[in-house]
Symmetry: C2
Subunit: 468 residues, 2 copies
């Protein structure tokens, strides 16, 4: 039994022979409770390392200490699929010299496979690890369920270090990442704050506007012809997205429809729908709450999948390619149906693609659901500030004032009309929004480039500029 357990993180960093300029990777299953990224970077700073690039599947507000590490030159590069508003704002102000590289959840493993991304050392936050590095997210005080985003890191990184607060004897039979990939195991007191782990915004909206939109979206799904036995579905953890699941459930019950799978980030609502028989299988790359984390541990039909299996365009196939319907949000959408989920109305970074563009590209029906105005700003614009998801992959928009169908989807529009749904053109909805809010001032477009958005095919789809 050759234990890989090290005394401390700094011992690990020394054994790894970390050098200035290297790329370190992290995953975001501990969400806003993650301690690991900050912990590793603090140790790296202590060693005097400089010029590191962080490749994280997502950056949350809990990673705010990252800003100090950028200021002192420890970190000079960032690649991620999502970036929370607190860190995002500083990046938009031009804190990093090199542009941030934004990818999607499917594009990240794809770029690792293509070799257009490279990880020197992956740090895997492991809620349970045995002494040889078999890892699981399903057990322990910091259990987060799926470790799906970390699979590609473990596979492609030159070296892999697991950080755990639940070290167990060999062998951990129910491993998700195998010891074959893991070089060192570091045991620490705590890898995350339980109150921040698996704490997405997973409560259904009580806002009547959100409920109205959810009912419209569900009616549109019903009318689309896709809601039949074998139906597959993905929705986010936001209030309105979640409300669609409730609305859909009622229709599925009435029509006695037996769905096939729900995918993506899994919430307690989807666990419930699965347990009641609405969906046979849950394919889970990320648990959004504790119910989901419990379910993936105990229920064989709730299956952990890797990010590549979820959404990679270089995979022979991925779950998103088999998806019927996905419900997605937007901060902006333009009249070509391009969607922005990266920047807010001021042009400040406050999000990222996640699986947005992947599911939109894969699903038969990609529905954007969003209120027509927010804080007196129109949802629909002539041209989104940032293209996160190209309009060619977006099929319809649901707002509280009506539904717009992408002109490419003529059959869908016909079906919806036949079902009695009121269809507007997206330009009509844009005009309505502007009537309510006025035309927003154009942002300046000549700032320095602070981020580039890489589409899942590896190409740069848009640039994000500095906001002063």
């Amino acid at each position: 039994m050759k234990s890989k357990v090290l005394e401390s993180l700094s011992e690990a960093l020394q054994l790894l022979e970390l050098k200035d300029g290297m790329t370190l990777s992290f995953h975001h299953h501990l969400r806003n409770g993650d301690y690991v990224l900050n912990m590793v970077l603090a140790a790296a700073r202590k060693l005097g390392l400089k010029d590191l690039t962080i490749n994280a599947s997502a950056i949350f507000d809990c990673h705010l200490p990252l800003l100090d590490l950028i200021r002192d030159g420890t970190v000079t590069g960032l690649e991620c699929n999502y970036c929370g508003a607190l860190v995002g704002r500083a990046l938009s102000r031009g804190l990093l010299e090199r542009p941030v590289v934004f990818r999607s959840h499917g594009g990240r493993p794809a770029d690792l496979e293509r070799g257009t991304a490279h990880i020197d050392v992956a740090f895997v936050a492991a809620p349970t690890a045995d002494i040889c590095g078999n890892l699981s997210g399903k057990y322990g005080q910091s259990a987060c369920g799926s470790l799906g985003y970390a699979f590609s890191d473990a596979r492609y990184a030159d070296k892999v270090v697991a950080i755990t607060d639940n070290l167990v004897p060999y062998p951990l039979a129910d491993f998700s990442i195998a010891e074959t990939e893991v070089d060192y195991v570091v045991a620490v007191e705590q890898i995350g704050d339980p109150s921040g782990i698996v704490s997405g915004t997973t409560r259904i909206t009580r806002d009547p506007v959100g409920l109205l939109m959810a009912d419209m979206a569900a009616a549109a799904i019903e009318a689309s012809g896709l809601l039949r036995d074998g139906f597959s579905f993905q929705t986010g953890a936001g209030g309105a997205s979640l409300a669609v699941a409730y609305a859909l459930e009622k229709i599925m019950e009435r029509q006695k429809i037996q769905g096939s799978f729900a995918s993506g980030g899994i919430t307690s609502k989807l666990v419930e729908m699965h347990s009641w028989g609405y969906f046979e299988t849950l394919l889970d790359v990320q648990c959004f709450d504790l119910d989901a984390a419990r379910s993936i541990r105990d229920n064989p039909a709730h299956r952990e999948i890797s990010a590549a299996h979820y959404a990679s365009p270089t995979a022979a196939s991925a779950v998103v390619d088999s998806l019927d319907v996905v419900i997605l949000g937007a901060t902006e959408i333009d009249t070509d149906f391009n969607v922005n989920v990266h920047t807010n109305s001021q042009g400040l970074i406050m999000g990222g693609s996640g699986g947005h563009s992947d599911t939109a590209a894969g699903a038969k029906l990609a529905i954007i659901i969003a209120p027509l105005t927010r804080a007196r700003l129109p949802l629909i614009v002539d041209r989104v500030h940032t293209i996160s998801t190209p309009g060619s992959t977006v099929d319809m928009l649901v707002t509280q004032y009506g539904v717009a169908v992408n002109p490419r989807q003529t059959e869908l529009a016909t079906r919806l009309r036949q079902a009695g749904l009121k269809i507007s053109s997206i330009d009509e909805l844009r005009q309505l929004a502007e009537k309510i809010c006025g035309t927003p001032k154009d942002l300046e477009h000549d700032g320095r480039i602070v981020a580039e958005v890489r589409y899942r095919d590896g190409d740069t789809i848009d640039l994000i500029r500095q906001v002063n």
Copy 2:
């Protein structure tokens, strides 16, 4: 839902653009019941393909039709970890111009990772597949349990084709190989003969010599100091190897020892010991019988592992590295403790390393168990005809006439003597064997090279020569 299902194997071969000279791979979980290798090669011959190399984890007697394909030039290269006696004899007679490449179960995935082996197209015999190529060996009429050896093929081959006789709707939640790796799925009537699948020689010996040796081996394990809580163990499916498990069970019961894991090919006996609590976990790269195939499906503590996880020397670690004791067979052993499991006394190919050299290298105590003479031929020789496993990794030999300890293991010898076991030198046992059988005639060593044995580190450890 983009189905990958093709109408026929020949359609698959055409879409794959198979070319002369390519390497096709196969795995051996269907053992002597496998139809897939013959089926694919018959289709390849029909297309007029020539000069193919077969990289199979093992070749069984059911693959005898391979000889005709070698004769007509369809196949001109063979790489495998084991070759049954019927095919082996023809190879030893010089049927192939290019030498056969023998690897071990751990060396095969390692060479694929190193790039010193390459697979153009992997054919995975899949007892269950969904239409997008999520695969499992646990379900269906041809269920074989673990698909462990096929994992590396799926990962490293340029293209992957699943051949199944149990096509199920998407998604197969309990997949072992993911759709990400699988390009095509071909549905056929039957992928194997149920009477040949999972039909290892898994009955305990009734031979009193075998039982005597098993008791001696168990006593030696007890004396070694390794038999304590957390004990881990591997043994083969042969009668005498299996008898060691029975003998060990009695000692473990008496001493109330709670073992950790049993690994490798899993038999019903190990399943039984697991269910009775002697081993907490089963780590399974290959199910040897139907009880094991059922258990791996229903029991979460009976876990499928890949060949790399089992035994790869290029993995960060593998199960064999954590193994306490392994029981292994031998056709010959020499006075340096080198072991031959490739060729028989006439020099004819009739086996291969499988996991022999991997487990010997990894385990703390590698025990060879074999009768001192067989068919009036001595087990122990001056120099084995073929080195399968180097003596430096072999710790002791158990025969019915006594136990020999590798001189490198001085502490082991002391412990065994203290426990009252009779220890002979291996040369004393050799002399005894020769007294019984006489000195065997030396084989000619100047024949053409028909096979090379590559050790798990990738180096050639020995050559096998033509026998006329």
